[in-house]
């Protein structure tokens, strides 16, 4: 078990939460996600790194530019020229700005006086323009662990990767807030807790998107002897602790490897050697086909390149990630050879040609000349950093919680002004008068206190996306227990049963619940009624279809009994007894018979009762 205090773990979170606004951040398109087969436009573009306004090119952008890449984009009838980077952006979405400011207030942050929209260079294809628009909204928030929220930014969401270099533009431009904490967390569990807390605060607004992919965490991690690493795209809260733990392990192992390399006096030979001829008849198809095979010599590295640094990842995997930036599929290294069709004899000849010693590890890359050279230089670059320890990097989470290299940490050079959007002044009085919503944890406590709901159910309600509908139902007179049960379970049951519950609007659900409250529908029938409504039946029809069937003869029986039991009252009041008796009969049939029918049968029975020729008279 790792002692996180001892290794000096410091972690911070960047949380990205999509906002549920009507329109996108810089255009008037809806924020609706589409399925890929609905796309009706396809086009492709190339992106190039550009200089910041201070004349620098960002390191991360340069890395992405190692190969010229063509990106393909899918457009929809819900996307426009702004997403296609064919039209300047519209002004900053006011609804999104207001929501970002409300969130800032929830964290007690200080807003900036005047907001400037920036372009953050991102040329991995996920933005048609080659940059992501982002604006710093507020600074200095407070976390429950005493830590600090450094900034909150309002950004546009990137396009969704479909596959390889193909992106779907429905998601591009959806507003999101990016909340960055200070590196104030000391254990993996603390990171998970803070991430959970941030998510809870965001959901308290009731105006953020819900569901997988609508909230993403990036985690910044370092250990005392390591370096700052940013891990992107952790979607599930449950994986956060695991990711942190594995990164600590990776950094610790890289530090151990460095120490061993130093003690072995290992070096990196900075000129790759051409070894194409050795593999001209190789049974490895990759090597046999390759125009150019280059060897990178790493004296003192033997055994360490193949050493595991994280479950499923070796130092060699890191080399491979760097090489892939030049467009190769991967690398081979002698710690894992002979294998992959490369024979012992070929390995021996490789060592012989370059007269490598037994403590040497040789990495080989195979491609056309330019690519091979680019990949070899990348391997050399990464091998050199192995001698100094852990490189600062942006990494991508893999399934299970290990990570792979994406690009260097981006710097300030990736930011330059979005000149097509005017700065926006935040008026202090406007900011201070923004309504601050009740936190969901406070809501749960209030449900227990005021509505006498079981604490477990209350907290389940508060964390559910039904909580706002629940509050509305209660305020409209629905019993809290009925509302809670219906909203938490019935909908889930329906979804499990495969029904389409998307057409269950809040209004429809409330109508059904009101029917129960007014005795027009049985509590037990709610799931069935909702299922019918979900299938397209109107609420009133669904209620009448689901009500217990009362036949005409059964109705007549009930009416006869009710009248007979109150014979004296009926004879005294005559037709005046109709009203009171209606109520009694309707209660008996639980609202399942049309009132007019009941009234008609009842009238007949009353008139029979009060007429002088009634057979009953003679009894």
């Amino acid at each position: 078990m790792i002692d996180f205090g001892k290794v000096g773990l410091k972690a911070g979170i960047e949380i990205h939460q999509q906002l549920n606004t009507a329109q996108k951040l810089f255009c008037n398109c809806p924020t609706t996600l589409r399925t890929i087969d609905e796309h009706d436009k396809e086009f492709f573009r190339y992106l190039r790194a550009t200089e910041s306004e201070l004349g620098e090119i960002d390191a991360a952008a340069k890395e992405e530019m190692k190969q010229e890449r063509m990106f393909c984009y899918f457009g929809y009838d819900t996307t426009c020229l702004v997403e296609y980077d064919e039209e300047p952006p519209a002004p900053l979405n006011q609804e999104a700005l207001e929501l970002a400011c409300i969130i800032s207030r929830l964290f007690e942050m200080t807003p900036v006086e005047q907001i400037h929209t920036m372009r953050k260079l991102v040329i991995d294809g996920s933005n048609t323009s080659g940059f992501q628009r982002t604006a710093l909204i507020a600074v200095d928030g407070i976390l429950p662990n005493g830590g600090k929220i450094e900034t909150i930014c309002l950004e546009e969401e990137a396009a969704q990767r479909v596959d390889g270099d193909t992106f779907s533009l429905d998601r591009l431009g959806i507003p999101l807030v990016e909340i960055t904490t200070s590196p104030c967390m000391k254990t993996p569990d603390e990171v998970r807790e803070i991430a959970g807390y941030l998510g809870m605060v965001l959901r308290s607004t009731g105006r953020v998107k819900r569901g997988l992919g609508t909230i993403r965490q990036d985690i910044n991690i370092s250990i005392a002897e390591g370096a700052r690493v940013e891990i992107k795209g952790v979607q599930e809260l449950d994986l956060i602790a695991e990711v942190v733990q594995r990164e600590v392990l990776r950094q610790k192992n890289l530090v151990d490897i460095r120490n061993e390399l130093l003690s072995r006096q290992a070096t990196v030979i900075t000129e790759p050697v051409d070894v194409t001829k050795i593999f001209s008849a190789s049974s490895s198809t990759i090597l046999k086909k390759a125009q150019c095979i280059l060897a990178v010599r790493l004296p003192g590295f033997a055994g360490l390149v193949g050493r595991e640094i994280q479950p499923g990842r070796r130092l060699g995997s890191e080399f491979s990630d760097y090489a892939k930036k030049c467009g190769v599929g991967g690398i081979f290294h002698t710690d894992e050879l002979p294998a992959y069709g490369i024979t012992r004899d070929e390995v021996d000849r490789l060592f012989m040609q370059i007269s490598g010693g037994s403590d040497e590890c040789i990495v080989i890359v195979a491609a056309d000349g330019k690519k091979a050279h680019c990949s070899a230089m990348q391997v050399i670059k990464r091998a050199k950093t192995a001698l100094t320890g852990v490189p600062e990097e942006t990494r991508k989470m893999l399934e299970g919680g290990s990570t792979s290299y994406m690009r260097p940490l981006p710097g300030a050079a990736r930011m330059y002004p979005e000149t097509d959007v005017f700065p926006v002044r935040i008026e202090p009085t406007w900011y201070e008068n923004l309504p601050v919503p009740e936190l969901l944890v406070k809501k749960a406590e209030r449900f227990v206190r005021e509505l006498h709901i079981d604490p477990a159910l209350a907290s389940q309600l508060a964390s559910s996306d039904q909580v706002f509908l629940f509050e509305r139902a209660v305020s409209e007179g629905i019993a809290p227990s009925l509302a809670a049960r219906t909203l938490l379970s019935s909908r889930k049951e329906l979804a499990r049963g495969g029904s389409d519950i998307s057409c269950l609007s809040a209004e429809n659900i409330l109508m059904v619940l009101k029917a129960v409250e007014e005795g027009r529908a049985a509590k037990e029938a709610v799931p069935v009624i909702l299922e019918k409504v979900g299938a397209g039946t109107s609420v009133s029809e669904a209620i009448s279809e689901c009500a217990p069937a009362v036949s005409r003869s059964r109705l007549e029986e009930i009416v006869r009994r009710v009248v007979r039991e109150r014979r004296d009252f009926v004879r005294e009041k005559g037709m005046g007894s109709l009203g009171p008796l209606m109520g009694i009969v309707m209660a008996e049939v639980r609202g399942s018979v049309d009132g007019r029918v009941v009234s008609q049968v009842l009238k007949e029975e009353i008139s029979r009762e009060i007429s002088p020729n009634t057979p009953g008279d003679k009894v």
Partner: protein, 409 residues
């Protein structure tokens, strides 16, 4: 003293509970724009910032451009526009301040196509162009032709590029390609169309072409640039990459990207077909009037002492009956009035309806299928070079530089 900050000053700005270090960029709307160390800009009141240091401005010397002497010689004449723009971070606006060498530096692949001679003529936005500048531009381009360039690339803002291209089409007979190019999406963005447009125009400039053209992005994708005849092209969209279209004829060629292969249609005039000549005179007192329903006769008064007036009429080439006497007066006073159509596509025919017949009677000239703006430029050139009204009218009716055609396609 508050206004004494210089761009590049390192400052501390008090914001929230912390002092943050940043770089002073500019003053905007009464507030200081500060670039924080994170790269974000924010606007801060002046009394919240204080100077830390004023670093020496180290200007990095630009990388020298090395060119392949074995390749054909092209001239880049830069006039400004988005293809050659960068952000002015003092104002935050996109301005034109690149010279031609900067373009080569920004688009290194250019040196695989040709070697370049750069000539910076103007750095203006194209809405600020005028006939006097067209003349200077024509003279500069002609000089480059005379100096033996294999082709000339004119970088130009897109707004009035079609006017300038038309002007040079009339003013210059050229044996080599004269190519107008620009970009619709500014050069400071990774997705800018400037690279493709510049590379395709260079490739077209070394091709077998021999006339004045516009080379711009052809589709929504980065796959083709179209080559448009200078007298038939029009900007048809405010912002799209593929804003330029040939009207009345198909594009006379295309350049594929990224292969940069040039395909010329048979209609394209070939290299070496024309002898170089320059006739740069223009009659600037020519105007263009867009008719609208209800337009009062007074709208014509500011053109009363003009030598020429182009009317963009409705449909087949009409204005309201009420305006016909005014037009007759203009014609009688010596103004050449030419009728074109707001429809842009199709041909003017003033012999179908009464209004049209009355216009002809009043002395208006039918403009055929010429574009209204091209008609204006042509009229300036015709009246600048031919003083005899009857001969000028004949020239106006004839096709001089492919600006009109006998057959509507």
């Amino acid at each position: 003293m508050n206004n004494e900050f210089h761009p590049g000053d390192i400052v501390l700005c008090r914001h929230g509970n912390t002092d943050r270090s940043g770089t002073f960029i500019t003053m905007r709307d009464g507030m200081a724009t500060i670039k924080l160390d994170s790269g974000y800009n924010i606007g801060v009141s002046l009394d919240e910032i204080c100077l830390v240091t004023r670093p020496d401005i180290t200007s990095t010397s630009p990388v020298a451009v090395t060119q392949n002497e074995a390749l054909p010689q092209l001239s880049i004449v830069s006039t400004g526009g988005t293809i050659a723009s960068r952000i002015d971070y003092r104002t935050g606006a996109v301005t034109s301040q690149f010279d031609a060498e900067d373009i080569i530096r920004a688009i290194p692949r250019l040196v695989t196509i040709a070697r370049y001679r750069a000539r910076k003529l103007y750095t203006i936005l194209s809405e600020n162009m005028n006939p006097a500048i067209w003349k200077e531009l024509a003279e500069a381009v002609f000089q480059e032709i005379r100096n033996g360039s294999s082709g000339i690339i004119v970088t130009h803002g897109t707004d009035t590029m079609a006017y300038s291209a038309a002007a040079l089409s009339f003013m210059i007979d050229t044996p080599v390609p004269v190519i107008f190019v620009g970009s619709q999406r500014s050069a400071d963005r990774p997705s800018s169309d400037n690279t493709i447009n510049a590379l395709c125009s260079a490739s077209a400039a070394v091709s077998d072409l021999g006339e004045v053209v516009v080379v711009m992005h052809g589709t929504m994708s980065d796959d083709t640039c179209h080559i448009h005849r200078g007298t038939r092209v029009r900007k048809m969209h405010t912002s799209r990459r593929s804003a330029f279209e040939s009207i009345g004829i198909p594009p006379i060629g295309r350049v594929s990207y990224p292969s940069l292969e040039v395909h010329l249609e048979p209609a394209a005039i070939r290299r070496g077909t024309q002898e170089p000549s320059l006739a740069a005179s223009l009659e600037e007192r020519c105007g263009l009037l867009h008719f609208y329903p209800g337009m009062p006769p007074e709208a014509f008064t500011s053109f009363s002492d003009y030598k020429g007036l182009i009317i963009a009429g409705t449909g087949l080439g009409h204005v309201s009956t009420l305006l016909i006497p005014t037009i007759k007066e203009l014609v009688d006073d010596g103004t050449m009035v030419v009728m074109t159509s707001q429809c842009l596509h199709g041909r003017v025919c003033d012999r179908v309806y009464d209004t049209g017949r009355d216009l002809i009677k009043a002395g208006a000239i039918e403009g055929g299928d010429i574009l209204p703006e091209v008609a204006l430029v042509k009229q300036m050139w015709v009246l600048g070079n031919e003083k005899d009204p009857e001969r000028a009218a004949v020239m106006m009716r004839s096709c001089l530089k492919g600006e009109c055609g006998g057959r509507s396609l």
